[in-house]
């Protein structure tokens, strides 16, 4: 490689745009080194946190870097990308904090765990910033391969390995689907750059391109767990170690939506959607059906983790509604803003809920609705945090989840999809049905004999729970915090 080429590729702006990615990759290697070099094992945790901090600094600084494509068109930088990056990092951080002292037999692989987590985060950033199908695909794999492993991380337990395998099989199938779709799109358009595609107009509605986009979107639907590709979710979420579940439920979903937004043109200079307009109502109905499938599935669960998994499906459906509205939304970045806010609230809400679950699980095994009975008497603060998470997931003001819901349904209304908006809001009535079940158990029913296992004090988890709950409340009271940074 010639020096001129290097100079052309790595301008100062490009370096800032790529800073989070670079920080994460370097961090992964440093953590790995700390595991190998003698006497540096104690550096693992500080190194991880430092990496996250460095990446976050890069992302925040990146708000100032000029928007546009870098690395000769593989990577697109925008303010929204910086915001997405922060969300990914938060998701990773929350999962990491709740993962402290969670693993027992696997504790000797903790450094590997952290390396995988950091690479996975790098994959997310790449997915969100991908400006062509290849960059996205590599990001997708960099996200997925570590996650397959993390899902099967408790390798002595068959449910964990099973979750990892299931996730892998379907993930690999989705990847194949994506590739085939990408190849068809490339055949139709002659390019793999999304920016170039967005200006192609009628080429994008040729049969070849349509088939390709259908396959690509299908594989994305798998990643964000949307009907009819949501069936893997409960099994994998349940079997995977709970901190990893938190990471999958928040980070992966966010990365998938970030790329969907790119396909909707929201990260492109042209601002034109790549996906054909005729899909708007189809996607809208899929969104509504996903909400129904998730909510009805969650309604009958007794295992809390499984219930939250189904609720995650429902939330994916709600977010998909913003995407569906993207074609006709009169607000140019409406879907982006709505989803960023939704996700910002969801990272703390679902991350906190799953994390709390991980904490409770580490002592008493599986957490069922039954075992939550009387929690408010035993551990009032824990119960209060859980109640906040449940109400925020249900979208009750003044909690963060409410504004997310409000913004998403605003998109639908602006796009004149009012019937979908009405069905969608009524779905959240069903959702409250099961979120309230948790609160009922914690606050309104006496403790049953069989479940009296204590919950051991864990500083990291306690701090993380507290911070998550406070942020959820703060986001509800002061949505401007996030909204103004997105504007």
């Amino acid at each position: 490689m010639s020096p001129q080429l290097l100079q052309q590729l790595f301008t100062a702006d490009a370096l800032w745009a790529l800073a989070p990615l670079i920080a994460l990759c370097l961090g992964a290697m440093l953590v790995l080194l700390s595991d190998i070099l003698p006497g540096t094992a104690g550096l693992r945790r500080p190194l991880f946190l430092l990496t996250i901090a460095a990446a976050a600094y890069g992302a925040v600084h990146g708000f100032g870097a000029p928007e546009g494509t870098y690395m000769m068109g593989s990577f697109h930088h925008s303010h929204a990308l910086s915001a997405w990056t922060v969300i990914f990092l938060l998701s990773g951080l929350i999962a990491f904090e709740f993962g402290q002292r969670y693993y027992k037999e696997e504790a000797r692989f903790l450094a590997e765990h952290d390396v995988l987590m950091l690479t996975s985060l790098a994959g997310m950033v790449m997915m969100a910033g991908a400006a062509d199908l290849l960059a996205f695909f590599i990001g997708l794999e960099t996200l997925s391969v570590p996650l397959y492993t993390l899902a099967g991380f408790r390798r002595a337990r068959s449910d964990s390995v099973e979750a990892g395998l299931k996730y892998f099989m379907l993930g690999a199938f989705a990847a194949a689907m994506f590739l085939y779709g990408a190849a068809l799109v490339y055949a139709a358009t002659g390019t793999i750059s999304i920016e170039d595609m967005s200006g192609m107009g009628s080429t994008l509605t040729e049969p070849l391109a349509l088939a390709g986009f259908a396959l690509i979107v299908g594989s994305l639907f798998f990643k964000i767990s949307v009907f009819p590709f949501h069936l893997w979710v409960p099994d994998v979420y349940q079997g995977a170690p709970t901190p990893v579940t938190a990471f999958m439920a928040t980070g992966t979903k966010a990365a998938g939506f970030a790329f969907l937004l790119t396909l909707m043109g929201q990260n492109l200079a042209s601002g034109k959607p790549v996906l054909p307009e005729s899909a708007a109502w189809i996607v809208g109905w899929i969104a509504v059906i996903t909400m129904a499938a998730g909510n009805l599935g969650a309604l009958v669960q007794t295992d809390l983790k499984r219930m939250l998994a189904y609720s995650g499906v429902a939330h994916a459906g709600t977010m998909l509604l913003a995407i569906a509205a993207g074609w006709h939304d009169t607000e140019p970045h409406g879907a982006q803003t709505a989803l960023l806010f939704y996700m910002a609230a969801y990272v703390f809400t679902a991350g906190g809920a799953f994390g709390l679950l991980a904490w409770m699980e580490s002592e008493g095994g599986e957490v069922t609705i039954e075992s939550l009975k009387g929690l408010s008497a035993r551990r009032p603060m824990l119960a209060a945090a859980m109640a906040v998470f449940m109400l925020s997931l249900g979208g009750i003001p003044p909690l963060g989840g409410f504004w997310g819901k409000y913004l998403v349904f605003s998109c639908a209304v602006r796009a004149d999809m009012i019937p979908l908006a009405v069905i969608g809001v009524l779905m959240s009535v069903i959702a409250l049905g099961y979120y309230l079940k948790v609160i009922v158990a914690m606050y309104m029913q006496p403790q049953t004999q069989s479940h009296s296992a204590g919950i051991s004090p864990r500083l990291a988890a306690a701090v993380a729970t507290g911070v998550c709950a406070l942020v959820v409340v703060a986001l509800g009271m002061l949505p401007s915090w996030v909204l103004e940074r997105l504007g």
């Binding site: 939304d329 009169t330 607000e331 140019p332 970045h333 409406g334 803003t337 709505a338 109400l391 009750i396 003001p397 003044p398 409410f402 409000y406 913004l407 349904f409 605003s410 209304v413 602006r414 009012i418 908006a421 009405v422 809001v425 009524l426 959240s428 009535v429 409250l432 049905g433 309230l436 609160i439 009922v440 606050y443 309104m444 029913q445 002061l478 949505p479 401007s480 909204l483 103004e484 504007g487």
Partner: protein
Amino acid sequence: MDSLTLLVFLPLLGALVVAFTPREAVALQRGITLATLLAVCFIGLQVCLDFDGSSAAYQHVVDIPWFALPSGGGSSVPVHFRLGIDGLSVLMIGLTALLGPIVMLSTWGHITTRVKEFMVWLLIMQSGMLGVFLALDLVLFYVFWEITLVPLYFMLGIWGGERRLYATIKFFLYTLAGSLVMMVGVILLIYQLKTADVAKLTEYASSLDSTRQTWIFWAFALAFLIKVPAMPFHTWLPDAHTEAPTSGSVILAGVLLKMGTYGLLRFCIAMFPAAAIQAAPIMMVLGAAGIVYGAFLAMAQFDVKRLVACSSVSHLGYVLMGLFAFTQAGLRGGVLQMVNHGLSTGLLFLLIGMIYERRHTRMLDQYGGIASVMPLFALFFTLAVLSSVGLPGLNGFVGEYLILLGSFQSQPWIAGVAVTGVIFGAIYLLMATRKLLYGPLVHAENKRLSDLNLREVGLMVPIVVLCFWIGFAPNTFLSRTDASIDALVKRMQETRVALAAGAHAPSTAALPTEPDRR
């Protein structure tokens, strides 16, 4: 800090303080709560006294920018923390503020477990309810509207009766379904008019095309009708009332249901006069049906609390009818009757709570003749019932009279049906009173009942005084609402004329040329 902001945040502050007291310090928690609510009551009443009844404008307005919502075409709608009162809300503020300490005082008798939590919820509830009546920003209103669900949910679910879980979830989901549909209406309205300011919305909303107005009107109306609750949506109410602890019932009957009628008045009628006029016959029929059906329902009850709950359906039917008569008398009566119902039904629930604390049953056949052992109780109960049935000289009479008068002016047939409700109301309430208080003292347990103590009498005195006051000098209260109501009536008449002339669209103002943008 100005008084309206204080009204909203003082209870929240109190809740925060209570939350940090040790769990065992029950007296301290009660003390802080009472002090906070008394302060709120004082400020609230002061605000109402300062209110200038001769002006229809919003008064004491607080306006602080909160955040901006993206709203299409790259513009954004600023959402403000905007509070204020006018003739439509002034009485509700007074009622809410007044009932706060009374409810608190009533908890001494029946809230003995998890006192701290209850006090926290009670304070949050107060803040939410005041927020609903004070909010002059649609988004802010909606936030407060939904916030009020949560405290009552916990109050019912933790301190309620045996079937409390069923009742509380039914209450929550039922009302939530309504409010979520309203949310879509809120979003649509704000998107169309590019402002969230209630005053501006009221001015501009009639410029929307009529189909859209009708849809948004019904989206709002559904939420409010469920909350009121109007006839086909009322099934959650008897369950919720029956299972709620006394203080919950008082809040529910006294204030929470009024949020529905207040919403109908402030949003459905004032914002969409044309749609309201078209919907008026339906609404009045719903009102009349509620009056009669509620009365029949009440007659069939054996549980005295459930009976009063059903009577609420009937009484709120009057309010609904009065509001949608669009005559001065009807609206005045409707607004006044909201207060009346809060006072008299609140009083009834308090009394039922007191006797339940002593006897642990609410079945009418378990009582009889207790007037002889509890003369004070009998006195207050009789007063409350008479106020409720509308005996001249007491508050209920004024409200019902005005409403029926107003309704006759606009829809004589429907009003005719409703009048029968007055008779039925008298029948079931007086029958219940007879079964409860008079006749022979059959049950031995009732002989040892102790009469009301000083706290119990004390907390009811303000309500009784108000009942008489409204009965004898309703103008003290009505004079504060008149300017706003007259303005509304005038607007309705103009709209009616415009509708009759066939020009259904612009009635008062055209769409703003300069939308409220940031």
